[in-house]
């Protein structure tokens, strides 16, 4: 599948969009936004559903997601599952989790990515693995995941 190059404009737009939680100025809690402006999931929702509430506007993240998936060889559903598993390992309760808790866990995961060097290059942009999975996750179609 041909995916257009990820231009600076696209990356900037992505970075300034609430769809990508780990935008510059927001990753790691050093400042920036306090949290996503998405529709919150109901209290007690699963991690998957809470995550779904954070995945907005696939169109905005598609460029990153498609290129990440093309180079990593994984599927959007697979990336989503990996992300949910990772969040689950981070002591979130898979069956009863609010959107805020998932957002905070994503912040922590992204911070940990930066500290440990868990990043990928997407068209040369340095993107944390969690960020990349989050963009891919927005393209997931698996209805069973939420």
């Amino acid at each position: 599948m041909h995916t257009p190059p990820l231009t600076r404009r696209a990356f900037v737009r992505l970075s300034s969009s609430a769809a990508l939680i780990a935008v510059a100025g927001c990753g790691g809690g050093s400042g920036g936004r306090d949290g996503p402006a998405a529709q919150p999931a109901p209290a007690g929702a699963s991690v998957a559903c809470a995550l779904r509430a954070l995945e907005r506007e696939p169109g905005e993240v598609r460029a990153v997601a498609e290129r990440f998936l093309a180079q990593s060889g994984s599927s959007a559903d697979g990336a989503r599952k990996e992300l949910i598993d990772a969040l689950d390992r981070s002591a979130l309760d898979r069956h009863a989790t609010s959107t805020e808790e998932v957002a905070a866990a994503l912040h922590d995961a992204i911070d940990a990515d930066w500290r440990s060097g868990a990043s990928v290059l997407v068209d040369g942009w340095i993107v944390s693995l969690t960020e990349a999975q989050l963009t891919a996750s927005a393209l997931a179609t698996d209805p069973a995941s939420c």
Partner: protein
């Protein structure tokens, strides 16, 4: 006193003969002013630039492309006639053997140079030798990298008003009773005894004459810059075919620079510091100093990730946007039009340049060319080589810096395609810093000069300048080589005369 080269035939033996009147040579000569020792400074050029003399520096470049023409100047004051005055001491880590960098490590430590740093700062027109970012926070703003496990701020000072060594110190030398400065005096060969272990004179040539002079001294110092220092040793091959001090084929090898790359594009966030980080000098009134800040991987990070040292400097708005100009213009237009409601303080583009330490590389070298200059001397030939270790460090350091700036919420980074894909050979910019061709070492098998800057196995020949540096760190060389020249002068006075 100033004399012409032709007057040298009248000059009797002196105590110290210094070849080259740039930063190192002038500093050395000044150290002897008013002492009981007689000093002769041989300088190829005259008081100002002259194309015919400068052409003696012509050097074929056969390795990585190198803008050699303006990277040194051949007249009194040497390359300080157009240096930029940016200065910082070598750091302790620079002297250490780092297991991941072949041929790293000095036979001395930072403490062996420290006693001369104060005076070197004064000579170079700098403020006090203080480089702790907190010390300069009133000028540069707080150190926003405090606590980062990966990055640290690096302070540099600027010579102010910039010290051009001949203009600043030429009169002092000309007025000194015990110092002779011979202008237009081109050292073309060192003369030695039959074993090549004692220098007995310097053959000097000058334009428009077939005559030569052979001034004699007890001690000799080469201070002609890293290319010419090596060339002179190699060309002095009448007794030893490989040249003086070259029994182990080290002379001319390990030529290093500070390669500079536009390795990344950076989007700075609103958190990116608005002052103290652009590469714009800031003046500090008390004590007077002009300082600038770069950032780079900390020593701990360099060790943890086994990197060469590097630093990143920012130049404000990126004006070199090339084919993505339109993207950014559109982005900015949409911001101005208020279309980016999500983010009222959007990102901006900053230009950044990475400057790297180059790994010592024996294949990166100065040789004698078959071509000859106008005085009949064989020219130097430059074969500058960057290795896999350099390329790898650029790649990994750029990512490391990008990750930490993202973690801190300061900026997002895109590697340029050649960095991320290794698409084509690195074509770096340069610092005009010539380093390493007569490296300091513990033994003659591994280098050219010993810990006192004396050529191994030659009793009375010394080298001054950054050619003695076994590694280049990320500091500009001149203030450091001035400190080494002061140290060498003290050594010669105490032990060699």
């Amino acid at each position: 006193m100033l004399i012409g080269a032709q007057d040298l035939v009248e000059v009797g033996p002196v105590d110290v003969c210094i070849v080259g009147g740039g930063a190192a040579g002038i500093t050395l000569a000044r150290s002897f002013v008013g002492t009981r020792w007689r000093v002769l400074l041989l300088e190829s050029g005259g008081p100002s630039f002259d194309a015919r003399t400068h052409a003696l520096y012509d050097t074929p470049v056969i390795g990585t492309d190198y803008p050699i023409e303006a990277s040194r100047l051949r007249y009194f004051g040497g390359t300080t006639n157009h240096w930029a005055g940016q200065s910082r001491p070598l750091d302790p880590i620079d002297f250490e053997e780092r297991t991941w960098i072949p041929h790293s490590g000095w036979p001395i430590g930072h403490g062996d140079l420290e006693p001369w740093l104060d005076d070197a700062h004064t000579v170079c027109g700098l403020g006090p030798p203080e480089y702790d970012p907190h010390r300069w926070s009133t000028t540069l703003g707080p150190d926003f990298l405090t606590g980062s496990p990966t990055l640290e701020s690096r302070i540099f000072q600027l010579s102010t008003p910039i010290v051009r060594f001949a203009a600043a110190y030429g009169d002092e030398l000309a007025g000194a009773d015990n110092v002779l400065v011979a202008l237009g005096a081109n050292a073309s060969e060192l003369l030695s005894d039959q074993r090549g272990q004692q220098i007995t004179g310097v053959r000097v040539r000058w334009f428009d004459s077939d005559h030569t002079a052979e001034p004699r001294a007890l001690a000799y110092v080469l201070a002609c810059g890293a290319i010419e220092n090596a060339r002179l040793l190699l060309a002095s091959n009448a007794v030893r075919p490989a040249g003086i001090g070259n029994d182990f084929d080290n002379v001319g090898r390990y030529f290093m620079e500070h390669p500079a790359y536009r390795a990344q594009r950076m989007l700075a966030t609103p958190l990116f510091p608005s002052r103290g980080l652009d590469w714009t000098p800031s003046a500090e009134p008390d004590p007077p100093a002009v300082v600038i800040r770069a950032i780079g991987p900390s020593d701990a990070a360099v060790r943890r990730h086994e990197l060469l040292r590097s630093m990143l400097i920012f130049y404000g708005r990126d004006d070199a946007l090339g084919d993505e100009d339109a993207d950014v213009a559109e982005t900015e237009a949409s911001v101005r039009a208020g279309l980016w409601r999500d983010d009222p303080s959007p990102t901006r583009e900053v230009a950044a340049t990475s400057i790297f330490e180059q790994a010592p590389n024996p294949d990166s070298r100065i040789r004698l060319s078959e071509q000859r200059d106008a005085l009949g001397n064989r020219k130097a030939e430059l074969d500058w080589q960057l290795g896999e270790i350099d390329r790898d460090s650029v790649y990994r350091s750029t990512i490391l810096i990008g990750e930490e700036l993202a973690r801190l919420g300061l900026a997002r980074t895109q590697l340029r395609p050649w960095v991320s894909l290794f698409e084509r050979p690195l074509l770096p910019g340069v610092g005009n810093h010539h380093i390493g061709t007569t490296r300091m070492s513990a033994t003659s098998a591994t280098g050219v000069v010993n810990r006192n800057c004396r050529v191994h196995d030659v009793d009375n020949l010394y080298v001054a300048g950054s050619s003695i540096f076994p590694t280049g760190g990320i500091a500009n060389p001149t203030m450091n080589l001035v400190a080494f020249a002061l140290r060498l002068a003290d050594h010669i006075k105490q032990d060699a005369l």
